[in-house]
């Protein structure tokens, strides 16, 4: 099925994960993931803590501390499994971090301009870039002072996530992976961030929305939902799956699917 999609839609930027196994520090976390996210669709990955959701996000983006032991990641018909993270981003992939990193002494505006230049492959004047940035800031309700500050330094949880969404808006990737962009936010920040994402969703953007909670799905309706447990996608379905999950809980799903109960020690937050 995966190859078929690829052959049919060479113009769309499809992200495909095929039989992906990956480990961190010798421990296997992903145990065979298959996934197809076409541009223009929103796919949600839901699952309990420790199921490997964040690992999947980081492996797709090429974090060096994660090792792919089997399988492939294909983007726009090109195998990217061995590409550097910057090459993947230049191809049109984006990862919104669960825990955005602080970059001391580098202002958001300088960081974004450097990223924009790298991704778009063209020099842009400071003035033209400012104008573009201002438009996106206005659309997302980001205040001027935030972009003058050093990246994520002293940012509140909400500001950090807003900053990730601002980067997404400016860099205009084809596929964006949003790694728990809804976590650590109060209700107002969640609403603001989710509405920002909703504004960016359209035919040009495919989204892989990784979430632990159902609440962001009150704002964003996915085309597909995948349930991930113990490093595998155990079930995929339409948006109605979210409500089922809500009612049964992950453990209820486990027994429905005839899976072993979750081992206690793995019920920890995924790697940053």
């Amino acid at each position: 099925m995966a190859t078929e999609t690829l052959e049919k839609k060479t113009d769309t930027a499809t992200l495909e994960v095929r039989g992906l196994h990956a480990s961190v520090e010798g421990k296997e976390i992903l145990k065979g993931i298959d996934l197809v996210v076409p541009q223009g669709e929103v796919h949600a990955i839901m699952g309990p803590n420790g199921s490997g959701k964040s690992t999947l996000a980081n492996v797709i983006m090429g974090r060096p501390s994660y090792t792919v032991t089997a399988g492939q990641i294909v983007f726009k018909g090109q195998e990217i499994t061995k590409l550097r993270p910057d090459q993947r981003a230049q191809l049109g992939l984006f990862l919104a971090f669960q825990y955005p990193t602080e970059i001391p002494g580098v202002s958001v505006v300088n960081f974004l301009r450097s990223a924009y230049t790298s991704v778009k492959g063209e020099k842009v004047s400071a003035l033209a870039f400012r104008k573009r940035l201002k438009e996106k800031m206005a659309m997302l309700g980001v205040e001027d002072q935030m972009v003058a500050r050093y990246v994520n330094q002293g940012f509140s949880g909400g500001e950090k996530k807003k900053n990730e969404v601002l980067q997404l808006a400016v860099l205009e990737p084809d596929i964006a992976i949003l790694d728990e962009t809804d976590s650590g936010l109060d209700i107002d920040s969640l609403k603001a961030v989710a509405e920002g994402i909703q504004r960016l969703i359209g035919p040009d953007l495919g989204v892989l929305l990784i979430t632990h909670y159902q609440r962001i799905l009150n704002y964003i309706t996915p085309d597909r939902i995948h349930v991930m447990m113990d490093g595998r996608i155990v079930l995929s379905g339409g948006p109605e799956l979210a409500h089922e999950l809500e009612q049964k809980g992950y453990e209820g799903f486990r027994s429905d699917l005839g899976l072993e109960p979750a081992p206690k020690e793995t019920a920890k937050g995924g790697p940053a």
Partner: protein, 445 residues
């Protein structure tokens, strides 16, 4: 024109003293004594704590020339273009002094500042015309017998700069002194004596520049006397070329409520050893010491600092940041001393290092000596390590290639210091220097 020849023997000294226009008159006895000290003090031993990180036992002093005279210039138009280029874009200034090899070729002070009573001239001139101004200032903060190199300096120094700002006088624009060396094998002795009377304000920039040379020695001394309630910003830009050995001692005496903010930029020289000391004698005095260094190739840096709190309610804050690449190595060792009877003092000391290659090295050695029984606020922090992997991944995940990501991180790292630099010209010149270091081709390990 004196012919000092090679090395620092008695004959070389006598030849210098016989020279025309030399300041032998008022300082002769002092220089004689320094020569005797130089002959008596052995080369610093790496077995002592002070010189543990810089081994000069093989350093052949006798291969250097003590003196190289150049023609003085009447106006800036007569100054060689290389020198003017080396002065750089420093914006408006109240005065400029240029030492070319052993001679101060021009020293100019804005007439407005002169009318306020500011003195700005070469040390040689002052020794001739107003030697009393040097009493308790020349080699008072940095005595000649401190080391073999300070003794050598005291005996053989030519040129140097003297600044005196009278009580209550504020010099709005910076004064700048440039020492430029382009004679291979020369030893120079840059020396700045900066004296501020009560309530005076001044910004002073020392800049050391040379092309790459086979071999040269810069044996430098900076003496700062900040009178009560005076404000001094002192910047030293060490931009010597390769081949230069730079050994310097800078010491500031702070009187009551004085504020001295220093910035030391060390990008040049093959070997750079710089000692910077603040003696906070006066109650309520404040010292800020910023340092920035960037090592490439096989550069060796040895930075030492002392924040010595004698007076009460004194504050000091030191921040040294360095980036090391290729096979370069840096040592920072700093001591905070809170003397007995010094009450309510604050002292902070931070040294951070980024290593851009596996073969580069940096060490950080902080020391606290609290002799006061009074509660003091002291803090020190040190770090050495490569660029944070998470930061690199974050930048790369935004499409930024490794080299550009590293450039952003390095600029960001120095930004903490740049944010505290108030002079736009110094900030600009520092930014250009960082960029130039980053653009150098990395050397194969």
């Amino acid at each position: 024109m004196p012919e000092a020849g090679i090395g620092f023997k008695r004959e070389a000294f006598d030849a210098l003293m016989a020279g025309d226009g030399f300041d032998a008159g008022s300082l002769h006895r002092f220089r004689e004594r320094a020569l005797a000290e130089f002959e008596a003090i052995p080369m610093p031993s790496p077995e002592t704590e002070e010189w543990r990180h810089t081994d000069l036992r093989e350093f052949d002093l006798d291969s250097y020339e003590a003196y190289r005279e150049e023609h003085p210039a009447d106006t800036l138009d007569d100054v060689k273009p290389d020198l003017l280029e080396a002065v750089g874009d420093v914006g408006d200034r109240a005065g400029l002094s240029i030492q070319h090899n052993s001679t101060v070729v021009i020293s100019h002070l804005d007439p407005e500042a002169a009318a306020k009573g500011v003195t700005f001239a070469s040390l040689d001139d002052i020794a001739h015309t107003r030697p009393n101004l040097l009493a308790n200032r020349l080699h008072a903060a940095v005595p000649s017998d401190r080391s073999r190199f300070t003794a050598l300096h005291a005996a053989f120094r030519t040129g140097g700069t003297f600044v005196h700002v009278p009580a209550g006088v504020k010099v709005d624009l910076p004064l700048q002194s440039l020492t430029y060396v382009d004679h291979d094998g020369l030893a120079v002795f840059p020396h700045s004596v900066i004296a501020l009377e009560e309530g005076a304000e001044l910004t002073f920039i020392d800049r050391y520049v040379s092309p790459d040379l086979g071999r040269a020695l810069s044996d430098a001394v900076v003496e700062i006397y900040a009178g009560p309630n005076s404000r001094l910003r002192y910047v030293v830009l060490q931009e010597w070329g390769q081949g230069v050995t730079h050994l310097s001692v800078q010491r500031a005496h702070l009187d009551r409520d004085a504020e001295v903010r220093t910035l030391a930029v060390a990008f040049g020289a093959s070997l750079g050893r710089a000692e910077a000391e603040s003696l906070l004698t006066g109650d309520g005095s404040t010292s800020e010491m910023l340092g920035v260094y960037f090592g490439t190739g096989e550069q060796h840096f040895d930075h030492r600092s002392i924040q010595d709190h004698v007076g009460s309610q004194t504050s000091s804050d030191l921040l040294y940041k360095g980036v090391m690449r290729d096979r370069s190595d840096a040592v920072y060792s700093g001591t905070v001393v809170i003397r007995q009877g010094a009450h309510k003092c604050n002292a902070y000391q931070t040294n951070r290092n980024i290593l851009l290659s596996e073969t580069a090295k940096a060490h950080s050695i902080p020391n606290l000596e609290i002799l006061s029984n009074d509660p003091v606020k002291c803090g020190h922090a040190a770090s050495v390590g490569p660029v944070d992997e998470d930061v690199l991944f974050y930048l790369q995940s935004r499409g930024i290639p490794f080299e550009e990501a590293e450039r952003l991180v390095v600029f960001g790292f120095f930004q903490e210091v740049l944010d505290r630099v108030t002079l736009p010209e110094v900030k600009g010149s520092l930014e250009r220097a960082i960029a130039a270091e980053l653009e150098r081709e990395p050397e194969e390990a």
